[in-house]
């Protein structure tokens, strides 16, 4: 009844699907990156590292990678800091706690594509409420999504708006794990409130959660796609081109699958490096 057969029955569907949809495709994408495969073409040939050499010379890829790094460099610190701030302030007192928590969390769940279109309207140079406010100060309206100096930071702003609530709930979970006695001890030593208490008790206890939140947010930042695809298409003039959008265009607009596969491998290297940190933190957290 509990022999080999039953184990196979329990695990076979998962193993099969893992092979077909994860491990197989992972190997396939690495293999494809050394070929000139194009969808629909009858033949493909091995081209060695030609795709990787082309990638190194490709101006679009350089811009795209740079933009993705800038995006992560803005969104990660901003949304982690704001998430921490929101968590600390909301948990500091019971008054309106549930209301704040739900409101700050709302953007995490709302369909991002729908909200991106709402943001486009909110930021419209002529009709948008943000520019109505800007104009009421007598300033010139800002074309948030078509000005090439601003567009990437506009997308960063939407990214921060969407991730603050996610980071906030992670920090809230971290806060509940801080032992009450520590606060009492700190109060007896005269660090009962405000910044001193945060510096001496809360912050050191939140260390692991913070590292973890930074890594998750960075991984999510590298996967930015929806807002770019629906709002700017990488423009104007590649000013908001990001890695996943470049990969998407090469693979599904131009069908240059071999080259797209090489880009995917680069994308994977970034994600796996970040995820390795995450697993390391996770492992340490469990043994500690």
């Amino acid at each position: 009844m509990s022999g080999r057969g039953s184990v196979l029955l329990l695990t076979a569907p998962a193993m099969l699907l893992m092979a077909v949809f994860l491990i197989g495709p992972l190997l396939a994408v690495v293999a494809l990156s050394f070929t000139n495969y194009q969808l629909g073409q009858p033949s493909l040939s091995f081209v060695g590292i030609a795709n990787y050499l082309e990638m190194a010379e490709d101006e679009t890829v350089r811009v795209s990678l740079g933009n993705t790094l800038v995006y992560a460099a803005v969104v990660v610190p901003a949304s982690v800091a704001l998430g921490l701030g929101a968590a600390l302030l909301i948990e500091a007192e019971p008054s309106l706690r549930g209301f704040y928590r739900a409101s700050y969390f709302l953007p995490v769940m709302a369909t991002l594509i729908a909200m991106a279109i709402v943001w486009e309207f909110v930021l419209d140079p002529r009709l948008g409420v943000v520019n109505v406010v800007i104009k009421s100060f007598g300033w010139k309206p800002v074309d948030f999504l078509h000005d090439r100096k601003i567009v990437l930071f506009t997308l960063c702003g939407i990214g921060v708006w969407q991730s603050v609530g996610f980071n906030m709930v992670l920090f809230m979970a971290g806060l509940t794990a801080v032992p009450r006695e520590l606060y009492e001890a700190a109060a007896m030593d005269g660090a009962g409130r405000g910044f001193e208490r945060f510096r001496l008790v809360t912050w050191p206890m939140l260390g692991p959660v913070t590292l973890f939140t930074v890594v998750i947010t960075a991984i999510r930042a590298f996967q930015v796609f929806d807002t770019v695809q629906v709002l700017t298409d990488g423009g104007p003039n590649k000013a908001s081109e990001v890695l996943l959008h470049t990969i998407f265009a090469e693979a599904f607009n131009f069908f240059r699958d071999g080259y797209a596969a090489a880009l995917v491998v680069m994308f994977l290297v970034f994600i796996v490096a970040l995820s390795a940190v995450r697993l390391f933190v996770l492992g340490r957290g469990r043994t500690a």
């Binding site: 699907l17 769940m109 369909t111």
Partner: protein
């Protein structure tokens, strides 16, 4: 937590002041979306701005959103796809999680190591080979194309295994003595004991797949199979790009199902996301 009465009266006022300011940014887009969906076109394009509608244009906006594209059909597709994904995820991954947690067998270490390795793979990275596979198999443009790649969830296996490990072996032994098959044990003993983890995973899965845009964009081009995110992008591209009234109405319709679920089961949602965020 904790902090209890540690805020001074001044601190209390400051707390509300800062949080309310943040609230304007967090909820602002939702408010604009809702009020704009009620405004007639002339008012949306008027030179002077009023937050609240002066004339009622809601009927026309919602009617346009629902008739210009088959929005209700898109919602139904979203529900079918999200439900099918979660159901299959449970059927495929919960038994595997049980085997990894409670059974000793040859190859268990390798299987668990594969799960950990696969946890590192973002699904966008394997989308291209899966697309080529489905293209060759003639599976693109089908519900199967939208659902199948997500039936395996190494994250689900990992999460459920963590939870199953804590369930006492005595419970399983007792079930075996009662003559239960391994499958019965999974569904009648393990799954009910792991309800909190299962609910958290369900909420995580629902949010992820209801909102997913990347894979449906690749897998289907047939309008009849569009999920809500594809549908609203389609409305934007195919309507007059500036028909903001109907667009805001469509956005409201698309986000409402999850928002209602959230309002009903707020605590569960936040716990689910926290739980899956921390463990995953």
């Amino acid at each position: 937590m904790t902090a209890g009465q540690s805020l001074s009266p001044m601190g209390r006022v400051l707390r509300h002041l800062v949080l309310m300011t943040g609230l304007v940014a967090m909820l602002g887009p939702f408010v604009v979306m809702l009020v704009t969906s009620f405004k007639p076109k002339a008012e949306i394009f008027a030179a002077d701005f009023h937050l609240l509608p002066r004339q009622w244009g809601g009927g026309e906006n919602y009617l346009t959103a629902l008739t210009q594209v088959p929005l209700l059909g898109f919602l139904l597709n979203g529900a079918i796809v999200s439900a099918a994904i979660f159901l299959l995820q449970v059927l495929v991954n919960v038994p595997a999680a049980y085997a990894l947690a409670k059974r000793r067998f040859r190859g268990r270490g390798v299987l668990f190591a594969s799960v950990l390795v696969c946890l590192l793979i973002p699904y966008q990275a394997v989308a291209l080979p899966i697309y080529i596979l489905f293209f060759s198999a003639g599976l693109l443009n089908s519900y199967a194309a939208l659902v199948l790649p997500f039936t395996i969830s190494v994250f689900g296996i990992f999460l459920m295994r963590q939870f199953f490990i804590g369930i006492p072996d005595d419970l399983i032994d007792a079930a075996r003595i009662d003559g239960m098959s391994e499958y019965r044990i999974v569904w009648s003993v393990m799954a009910p004991s792991a309800m909190p983890a299962l609910v958290a995973f369900g909420i995580f899965s629902l949010i992820a797949h209801w909102n997913d845009y990347f894979w449906p964009l690749i897998a289907v081009s047939n309008e009849e199979l569009f999920t809500p995110p594809l549908g609203i992008a389609f409305l934007k591209l195919n309507g007059e790009g500036t028909a903001y009234g109907p667009l805001m109405a469509a956005a409201t319709i698309v986000i409402t199902p999850l928002m209602l679920a959230f309002l009903v089961a707020q605590r569960r949602f936040i716990e689910g996301i926290t739980f899956t965020g921390l463990k995953g």
